[in-house]
Amino acid sequence: MSNQDILDAATLKQDDALIPQSGWFERSETLQKLRKNKKFPTIWCSGCGIGIVMGALIRAIDHLGLDNDKVALVAGIGCTARMPVYMDFNTLHTTHGRALAFATGLKIARPDMKVIAIMGDGDALAIGGNHFIHAARRNMGITALVVNNAIYGMTGGQYSPTTPLGGRATTAPYGNVEPPFPICDLAIAAGASYVSRSTVYHALELDKFLAEAIAKEGFSVVEAVSYCHTTFGRFNKLGTAADMLRSLKDNSIPRSALERLTPEERAANTKIVRGNFVNVDRPQYTQVYSNLVTRVQAGER
């Protein structure tokens, strides 16, 4: 089975080893990864997609069989960045936009750890945009999980770097006039080793992409397209959470399906393209630096 086949939702098979079986949650020790005692319920609005991404992340880590002690979740500020507090790993909730910079220091100090930076679209691409491209350029061994709900949710619905043109927000009352960032294209251009996109409707696909990303040595990016029904959805009359979730199903297309279209059809596509876009092996920063230390200590000038 080719990588592409695995990644196509259309060809997902329930018996695929990467896909958790039904009833997994009840049987799985995954539940232990939640800090049950204090922090629940979550701060997220009922119907929010971020919880789906958290579930996918837990399943991906569980699938990889990682030691909780060797996993660090680093987050900035925002709705998405609250995710780590609910999970039983080494969790670092930092300042707005800086998750990747903190994660860089942590990864350098602990190359043996899996470091996952969890960010929203504003956190990762506006205030944190510089850190995003440089972490990718360095091929730092970090997984960047970007939950893209196209809005600043926590502050009440201001337009973000991924708000669509024309979209209404509290700071774009006449419609957004700024073109959005294509997150995956940016990550690819900056040099990420692994780049995938899916949506919170396609939760099992997210599991798979996250597992692949976390397993990757170099800088990996997973864009999880979500929605904010309480702000963006309300301002733009997009309906309930269920309506917005359904629209992710109706308005997204697997990359392989896109590639079967004619060039004209492809050019006219406005749907969210799901799939893996890059999966290459490049020298990972902490390994390269470790080699440098070895050389220097051997007396090389």
Binding site: V85, D88, H93, T94, A101, A103, G105, R110, V296
Partner: protein, 371 residues
């Protein structure tokens, strides 16, 4: 060791190595860059790590992340970069992550004059980040002190789980003096000792003691760190019964140990009616002026502050009771003089200030003594 001609910035780099610093993240900026250059060369030799980040915000974030992972960490910068670091310095205060921030002060505000000397960041070091908070700032007056105080900065940051600012200046940073550094093996600084089991560990416990030990990530102690107000295990909280004990502990943890934090040099003369009080490069001016005055037969006290923050209130207050006038030379418009005035009253304090990139001269100090 042997005597070497060395500039202050290099002494800071060597002080970091001697103190066990094994991670440096920084961004080039005059007049601090030599610190980064030395550590990029020397850290790999001792198994340490160096990275040049994309800006000072990232540098500050990275060293906190590095310390969370267990490496003693430092960054160095100057005024504009120090301004960019302020938010994450507050994060280090809030999360009680030890780290050392070197600020080799240059003339500001803004880009100012990158190669000109200044002591204009005294108040930025104290209050640059938002919110009430404790902070330690040390200020060297010589190349050897640049080494010694860097070592001290690491020791205090670990002992009190707080960022420590090494408030150097362009003159001390770029000045070359012969120094005989101690054997690095003879240098011991405070090491975290976590005795609780992971199940019992509370990274932010409020008792017993002022400063709970810090466990590194990846060592079996899984816990939460946040810049939000948090409870003893690190979870965000708004409950006053959890927030108030934290506030009480953190905002008094330095006050209870001032004798371990306060470094100063007193050169007092019986019967002196005037005192000179200074720090950093300006302390060299003050010492020169003291010698000239004493040669003329004028009795004068000299107090050199190596610890700027917490401000040595008790010692300055006592000095105010000894003398009629305290002269405070500094390369700003009187930032530390505010503090001296707060302790002894405005009428007793004579500011001798310069904020144009030039040093205060001994003659300016002598003039202030006589008029």
């Amino acid at each position: 060791m042997t005597v070497k001609l060395m500039q202050g910035n290099d002494a800071i780099g060597w002080g970091a190595i001697a103190a066990g610093c094994r991670f440096y993240a920084g961004y080039p900026i005059t007049p601090s860059t030599e610190v980064a250059e030395l550590l990029s060369r020397e850290l790999p030799k001792v198994g340490g790590k160096f990275i040049q980040m994309e800006d000072e915000i990232a540098s500050m974030a990275a060293i906190i992340g590095g310390r969370v992972g267990g490496l003693k960490s430092m960054t160095a910068t100057s005024g504009p970069g120090f301004s960019l670091m302020q938010e994450n310095i507050g994060y280090a205060v809030m999360t009680e992550i030890p780290c050392v921030v070197v600020d080799v002060q240059r003339l500001g505000p803004s880009t100012g004059q990158p190669t000109a000397a200044s002591q204009g960041d005294v108040m930025q070091a104290r209050w640059g980040t938002h919110g009430d908070h404790p902070i330690i700032a040390l200020s060297p007056t010589s190349v050897r002190q640049a080494f010694d105080l860097t070592v001290k900065a690491f020791d205090l940051s670990e002992r009190f789980r707080t960022p420590v600012i090494l408030l150097a200046d362009e003159i001390v940073g770029h000045m070359r003096e012969p120094v005989d550094l101690p054997d690095f093996k003879s240098i011991h600084i405070f090491e975290q000792q976590v005795t609780d089991s992971p199940a019992d560990y509370k990274a932010f416990r409020n008792s017993p003691g002022d400063v709970p030990p810090l466990a590194a990530f990846g060592t079996g102690y899984r816990y939460h760190i946040t810049g939000l107000f948090h409870d003893e295990v690190g979870f965000p909280t708004q409950r006053l019964d959890e927030v108030d004990p934290w506030l009480e502990r953190v905002n008094t943890k330095l006050d209870k140990h001032l004798d371990e934090i306060t470094f100063l040099e007193e050169d007092y003369q019986e019967g002196a009616r005037v005192a000179l009080l200074s720090y950093g490069a300006s302390a060299r001016t003050a010492r020169h002026a003291m010698k000239l005055a004493r040669q003329k037969g004028i009795k004068v006290d000299l107090l050199t502050l190596l610890t700027i923050w917490p401000f040595p209130e008790k010692q300055v207050e006592a000095l105010g009771e000894r003398v009629e006038r305290i002269i405070v030379p500094e390369m700003n418009l009187g930032q530390l003089a505010y503090e001296v005035e707060r302790m002894v009253g405005r009428k007793k304090v004579r500011r001798v200030v310069r904020a144009n990139g030039e040093m205060v001269t001994p003659q300016m100090v002598l003039d202030a003594m006589e008029n």
